[in-house]
């Protein structure tokens, strides 16, 4: 992956893509010729360029190869990973290049994001992605008694972890007080609670089991994937499809349940060694731990503050610094997978967690789309959708 930075005016989008692709191919000991298919994605409206699949072939290496292009909001990068996995797991392709990228510096992020919302019922009211997440934060605090300080703990943790990661965009040594003093964007969400806007690209080689062991690096195996989606209107994830049906965050809770059942995870905190989670803002680092089954409802803040998800804790979350330290949207979900791969390969440098056997990667979109994946050091007995 490229180093994640606030702005990369020295390259255009395809040149940025090319940096990540060259690194991935070099690392895998491959050339462009060895690639059977390319899966690429970003958010079209962020750069104002449609048909990125064809526009980017100079950089991606996809000239005259099968290409699939994906855009699913914040989950774009994780959806790319899942689609690349489907390509190789189906047996139809052996070596697939997965590419996620974004040049957020080229966009008006809020102006671009609004195009994802319903023109009649949401857009006239819409106040941006931060306000949407704030609706979730308010509801979570109301239901559980969680506090803004609990969330600030997550913001501080993620930025501390990023200090170990040369690829991270933000390198900030913050205190809870710094976060609490940062200005409100949309109550209860403050500047210090939010992710940055980042330029960056990430590329990964996905290989079928027939060829996976032919590479210079030992493979990280996909143990299974799951995803769920429920959103049509902004009100859906908070109310219409959630609380009243006994689910708090059905998309993530259902996908986690499906995936854990398939892979045989009964105690995530014990069985998962490291997690790279798409936490776009601090409150997510409380609530999603519950949705992902690390603890019961309302127990997120206490478990988070116990240090269980810090470096050295039971299951370190986001050793990379996560999304709150770098968010090149279309790359972000794929970076979660790349970080898990490095953790499993023991190549994560100063942010390495010892002896990683099982790693969890997630993607989250502003539309509450939820992708989740488990990767492992050991080859699974069978392919699990």
């Amino acid at each position: 992956m490229t180093k994640q930075r606030s702005s990369r005016p020295d390259v255009n989008g395809k040149e940025l893509i090319n940096e990540a692709v060259r690194m991935a191919l070099d690392d895998a000991g491959m050339t462009r010729k060895d690639i059977d298919a390319v899966v690429i994605g970003n958010m079209d409206h962020f750069e104002g360029i449609n048909y990125v699949d064809t526009w980017s072939v100079d950089g991606s290496g996809a000239l005259m190869k099968p290409i699939m292009k994906l855009t699913t909001g914040g989950t774009t990068g994780s959806t790319i990973a899942m689609a690349a996995y489907y390509h190789v797991a189906s047996g139809l392709f052996d070596r697939v290049l997965a590419i996620g990228w974004e040049k957020n510096s080229e966009s008006d992020t809020t102006g671009a994001i609004i195009t994802a919302f319903d023109p009649f019922w949401d857009r006239p009211i819409f106040a941006g992605a931060v306000a949407g997440l704030a609706l979730e934060a308010t509801q979570y605090m109301h239901l559980t008694g969680a506090t803004e300080e609990d969330a600030a703990y997550v913001a501080v943790r993620e930025r501390k972890h990023a200090l170990n990661n040369p690829y991270a965009h933000l390198h900030m040594n913050l205190t809870i007080e710094d976060v609490m003093k940062s200005p409100y964007l949309s109550w209860p969400v403050k500047m210090g609670d939010m992710c940055p806007r980042t330029d960056g690209a990430c590329a990964l080689v996905f290989a079928s089991e027939d060829v996976a062991e032919d590479f210079p690096q030992k493979p990280a195996w996909f143990l299974g994937v799951a995803n769920r989606h429920l959103w049509a209107y902004t009100s859906d994830p908070y109310v219409n499809q959630a609380i009243e049906n006994g689910w708090w965050f059905p998309a993530m809770e259902w996908s986690a349940k499906e995936l854990y059942d398939k892979v045989g995870i009964t105690d995530p905190l014990e069985q998962i060694d490291v997690a790279e989670l798409y936490l776009p803002y601090s409150f997510a680092g409380l609530r999603y731990m519950e949705s992902l089954g690390f603890c019961g409802r309302g127990e997120g803040p206490a478990l988070v503050r116990s240090g269980a998800f810090d470096m050295g804790g039971k299951c370190p979350v986001n050793p990379s610094g996560g999304v709150m330290s770098s968010n090149a949207i279309g790359a972000t979900g794929l970076i979660r997978v790349a970080e898990c791969v490095w953790q499993i390969q023991g190549r994560a440098g100063d942010r390495q967690v010892p002896e990683v056997k099982v790693a969890l990667a997630t993607g989250f979109g502003g539309c509450f789309w939820s992708d989740i994946m488990l990767l492992g050091a050991d080859k699974p007995e069978k392919v699990r959708g």
Binding site: T110, A137, T138, S186, Y238
Partner: protein, 157 residues
């Protein structure tokens, strides 16, 4: 190439895409908006199978995949399910006086919530579960902003 880079700033071109569209409200959306404009009345649609009342109205129930063929009249007060207070905004998208509230409101008679603005509240005066009421615009044009905003309901706790 180092030498010319020292002298030349990198080129960044400003651009703006402004594309006209014509979005269809459809029959269901049109009937709803007409009722809001002409009678200041909220309508919902009811699923023929599960009986869930949708507001804003939907033609199809995403759960049962059945048609929501029955119209239901709703109250103009409702419960504030969750909210935020917006302190910063995008200059072009929502040129509204700051701060303003923004919440998911479930109207009386509806099973689902919708997104709308909140004004006329004290600092710290909003809470999930509170009752709010619609304030209609005098000049109504057949869109969701025919309701200017919601505010804490008067005389009801």
């Amino acid at each position: 190439m180092e030498d010319w880079r020292d002298k030349q700033e990198l080129v960044v071109m400003e651009g703006r895409i402004k594309v006209p569209y014509r979005w269809s409200a459809g029959e269901v959306g049109t009937r709803y908006l007409e009722s809001l404009r002409d009678e200041k009345r909220f309508l919902g649609t009811k699923c023929g199978e599960c009986g869930k009342v949708y507001h804003v109205p939907r033609r199809n129930c995403p759960h049962c995949f059945a048609e929501c063929s029955q119209w239901v009249e709703l109250g103009s007060t409702g419960i504030l399910e969750t909210y935020t207070v917006v302190r910063r905004q995008h200059p072009q998208l929502a040129p509204l006086p700051l701060p303003y509230g923004y919440g998911v409101i479930k109207l009386e008679g509806a099973d689902t919530g919708f997104l709308h603005l909140l004004y006329e509240f004290e600092e710290g005066g909003l809470a999930p579960g509170m009752r709010v009421e619609a304030v209609f615009a005098d000049q109504r044009e057949g869109n969701i902003l025919d309701v200017r905003y919601f505010r804490p309901a008067k005389g009801v706790s």
